[in-house]
Symmetry: C2
DNA sequence: GCGAATCGTAGGTGCTGCCAACGCTGGGGT
DNA sequence: ACCCCAGCGTTGGCAGCACCTACGATTCGC
């Protein structure tokens, strides 16, 4: 009753965006935590599954993760046996990252988890709303990065 | 050409949401930085302007900021003379936070900055899209917190 | 061949959102 | 009147995401 959010925030699009993203992030993080993972892992695995083995730099570019952060995430994935690092024979600067079968299994698990999280996050939305939201957000992303 | 984002992410609503929120956050942060502030400051000032003086706990509840984070942000605002802390005469546990005239001026400045940031963030959207986005995000927020 | 660019890696920064603990104070129940 | 609980401000800490710099090693373009 007494505790209301100011309309200066409530009507500010960027606040609505970051705030609902925070909710989404919280729910997704919890879901991933149940699988012992975090968002970076999922993003990297998805990139590997979809485009196949690649260097760390390429991986980072495709999944929009800074290459220094890719290092840490891959260390964790490699430690769990989900991914393998091998030197590129054609270019001694690069590593070739390969997803293992355990990694693919893990990715599938994470896909399920993140799918359930979608249900939870977007529960109050109709199918039309969801489609619109996806369209609009895609526009925003396409404008701000070269998607 | 070679560097594409996997559709597993591109078609994942929560990824679109957090990713565009990250863009928005980046732009807003830059704008605020030009005014020597950050989002927490704006949120607290907005709450003070809209609802008047209040205790730190109430302030935190209204602006959705953890009370421990309110302390730090208020320290900074107080250090710049935008806000005043005084003990509540009716309850020795609380402080009463009051916005100063300099604080109101600062808030106005920040409002301008954040307004320009909106233009930049949502540039590719039509008026209809913006209205829809606001509606949809409000639904999400209303569902996940007691807005 | 040489300078520029790329790669992996190591470190660090900032903002956001949390949580635990503490000492103090106020209020409710008995 | 007392005790216990709840609320408050504060400190300190943690994790995740995103970003940046610098470095040695390597490769590429001219």
């Amino acid at each position: 009753m007494d505790e209301q959010t100011p309309t200066a925030l409530t009507q500010l699009p960027s606040w609505l965006l970051t705030q609902s993203a925070a909710q989404a992030h919280r729910i997704v993080t919890e879901s991933f935590a149940a699988g012992g993972a975090r968002a970076y892992h999922f993003r990297l695995l998805a990139t590997l599954v979809e485009f196949g083995a690649a260097s760390q730099a390429t991986l980072g570019r495709r999944s929009c993760i800074d290459r220094s952060d890719v290092v840490a995430a891959l260390n964790e994935l490699e430690g769990d046996g989900y991914v393998e690092r091998s030197p590129d024979p054609t270019d001694a600067r690069r590593n070739i990252i390969t997803i293992t079968t355990a990694g693919k299994r893990h990715y599938k698990r994470l896909t399920n988890l993140v799918g359930k999280a979608q249900e939870e996050i977007f529960a109050p939305l109709s199918a039309t709303d969801r489609a619109r939201l996806t369209t609009i957000l895609t526009k925003i992303l396409g404008y701000h990065q070269d998607l």
